[in-house]
């Protein structure tokens, strides 16, 4: 434990060197600003879509009372797919809807139109790929919370004459809000930090912070680019810290409401 702590404590110390330099200023403008915005945009969109779809899927499988096999299958598959980020995922999608992908070629041969304007190496393409591991992650993190939602509450609401909407508005929603927000934040952090998938899919044609950091670190041409990389990484950590602080604040507020 001590070894780990010592190791981790060194990180801020090394970032500190760059505080006084121009790097911090440099990363707030130009291509780096675009990279931050691109990363934020991609992460927010995928986190929200992944959160909604994952929640829908989790509700769908938990409500199927008759089909336990399906439920177990989906949960196990989610456990597997949530860990299926990175390189293999990127190649699976390249083989499917890349320029020579099986589905692309199939569409071209049968319909003669291919995938139209769609490119895998774009924001939309990346979002499509990210959702592949974000949706299962949502299912995994939200299922315990959904299971804690007692069927008796629904029955009580029904008996008191509440409509389905009223049940979700006054009972299910408030109870579920904190875990749902928390899980969505986790998706955001996960999408924000993803590097391997993006690297294998797009090289550096899409502005993303992680790609910019890697570029800054590997470039030997620009003097001081190493410091730029550090500053960019520090910016990422700061953003994640903000998100976590917001999450803690939301969590406290909702807990106060529930009391």
């Amino acid at each position: 434990m001590l070894a780990v702590e010592a190791f981790r404590a060194t990180d801020p110390a090394t970032f500190e060197e760059t505080w006084s330099t121009d790097s911090i200023v440099a990363i707030t403008g130009g291509a780096y600003r675009r990279a931050y915005l691109g990363s934020l945009q991609l992460s927010v969109i995928t986190a929200v879509i992944g959160g909604v779809l994952g929640l829908a899927l989790a509700i769908a499988i938990l409500q199927t009372r008759r089909n336990l096999l399906l439920r177990r299958l989906v949960l196990t598959a989610s456990g597997v797919l949530a860990n299926f980020g990175g390189i293999p995922l990127a190649f699976a999608f390249l083989a499917t809807i890349g320029t020579q992908g099986v589905v692309t070629v199939l569409l071209q041969d049968t319909l003669g139109l291919g995938l139209g304007e769609f490119r895998l190496a774009s924001m939309t393409g990346l979002a499509l790929v990210y959702l592949y591991f974000l949706i299962p992650l949502m299912v995994l993190t939200i299922t315990p919370a959904l299971e804690a939602l007692r069927p008796q509450w629904r029955e009580a609401a029904d008996n008191l004459g509440a409509s389905g909407w009223q049940y979700w508005r006054y009972v299910g929603g408030p109870v579920l809000a904190p875990p749902v927000i928390g899980a969505t934040m986790l998706l955001f952090a996960s999408a924000f930090a993803a590097y391997a998938t993006a690297r294998a899919l797009v090289g550096s044609s899409v502005p993303l912070v992680t790609l910019q950091i890697a570029n800054a670190l590997s470039s030997n041409v620009v003097v001081g680019s190493e410091n730029l990389g550090k500053a960019l990484a520090l910016g990422m950590v700061a953003l994640i810290g903000l998100v976590m602080a917001f999450y803690a604040w939301v969590q406290r507020r909702t807990q106060r409401w529930l009391q």
């Binding site: 434990m1 780990v4 702590e5 190791f7 060194t10 990180d11 090394t14 060197e17 779809l53 899927l57 509700i59 769908a60 499988i61 409500q63 199927t64 009372r65 336990l68 196990t76 598959a77 456990g79 597997v80 860990n83 299926f84 990175g86 390189i87 293999p88 995922l89 190649f91 699976a92 083989a95 499917t96 809807i97 992908g101 099986v102 589905v103 959702l131 592949y132 949706i135 069927p151 008796q152 029904d158 986790l186 952090a189 924000f192 930090a193 590097y195 391997a196 690297r199 294998a200 992680t210 950091i213 890697a214 670190l217 190493e226 990484a233 520090l234 990422m236 950590v237 994640i240 976590m244």
Partner: protein
């Protein structure tokens, strides 16, 4: 059916599902979600398999890309290195976390929240930010400590044949999963009673650890190991930025010249990872049924 609804419906007589008009439609909505997402998740996997087995020249099915994997240039090196790293990471992570979890459970309960938060850190901290920090620490060796034993140690950590530095970083990345797996096991078992009993009977602490604690935590330790192995075998960011060749970085390197081979290797590595994770869930289920019966 009975096992899962047994607890929830124990008190009620489970009447016919109350008939509401909305429920029927909800069924259709559920069906659509399941089918659409099912297709979304199955198509890429199916397509990758098709991509690797179809024969471009003559049509038909071929397995040549899978057969070419073991002989591919660099594969053996990269793969054995990744396996070795995985093994070392598992050993180190367990050696670090088993005593920590035990200490927290038995002696320092008030530290539980702190330790929990600390182990969750790597989950939200982007690995790429972590690796930037690691890189700058490694840069100290030539900058400040040249010609000292410390610099030698730093250089030894970065030996390309077996980069120990990766092991240390992977231990950090694996912390959340290892801690959670072990913590679940500790909570399920009444460890303080067991260890007190063992101590009263005159067992030494190492003896308690190896003959009492580890057997009780067997499933959790296995869980933690499998997840760690899966993580290390698939990790790309850290290895790529630090410039070491492991299994994933090797796949990326060859993907330009041998696209079908790289997809074939991806499919295989997926299968291996799935096997590991399915094994975990099978173990979980067995433990679950054992405890409930």
């Amino acid at each position: 059916m009975t096992t899962l609804t047994g607890v929830a419906g124990a008190g009620s007589v489970a009447p016919e599902t109350p008939v509401r008009r909305g429920r029927r439609r909800a069924g259709a909505w559920r069906f659509v979600i399941l089918v659409v997402l099912g297709l979304y998740f199955l198509i890429p996997i199916g397509a990758s398999v098709v991509f690797t087995v179809r024969d471009r020249g003559r049509g038909g099915v071929t397995l040549e890309h899978y057969a070419a994997i073991p002989g591919a240039e660099g594969f053996a090196d990269a793969f054995t290195r990744s396996l070795l790293l995985a093994g070392l990471t598992v050993v180190l992570a367990l050696a670090l976390m088993v005593p920590t979890v035990l200490l927290v459970e038995l002696r320092l309960r008030r530290l539980r929240t702190a330790v929990e938060l600390l182990t969750l850190m790597p989950l939200v901290l982007p690995p790429i930010a972590l690796v930037v920090g690691v890189r700058s620490v490694l840069a100290w060796a030539p900058d400040y400590f040249l010609n000292t034993p410390l610099a030698e140690a730093f250089f030894a950590l970065q030996e390309p044949a077996l980069p120990w530095i990766l092991v240390f970083v992977y231990v950090i990345l694996a912390l959340p999963f290892v801690y959670r797996a072990l913590d679940a096991g500790v909570r399920g078992a009444d460890l303080s009673t067991l260890t007190e009993a063992a101590r009263n009977l005159g067992a030494s602490w190492p003896r308690v650890l190896f003959s009492v604690v580890l057997p009780v935590l067997r499933t959790s330790v296995l869980n933690a190991s499998f997840i760690t192995i899966a993580l290390v075998l698939g990790e790309f960011t850290v290895a790529a930025i630090l410039g070491f060749e492991t299994f994933p970085t090797w796949i990326v390197r060859i993907s330009g010249s041998l696209p079908q081979l790289s997809v074939a290797v991806s499919v295989l590595s997926l299968l291996v990872t799935w096997m590991l994770l399915l094994l975990i869930s099978a173990l979980d289920r067995r433990r679950g049924t054992k405890e409930s019966s």
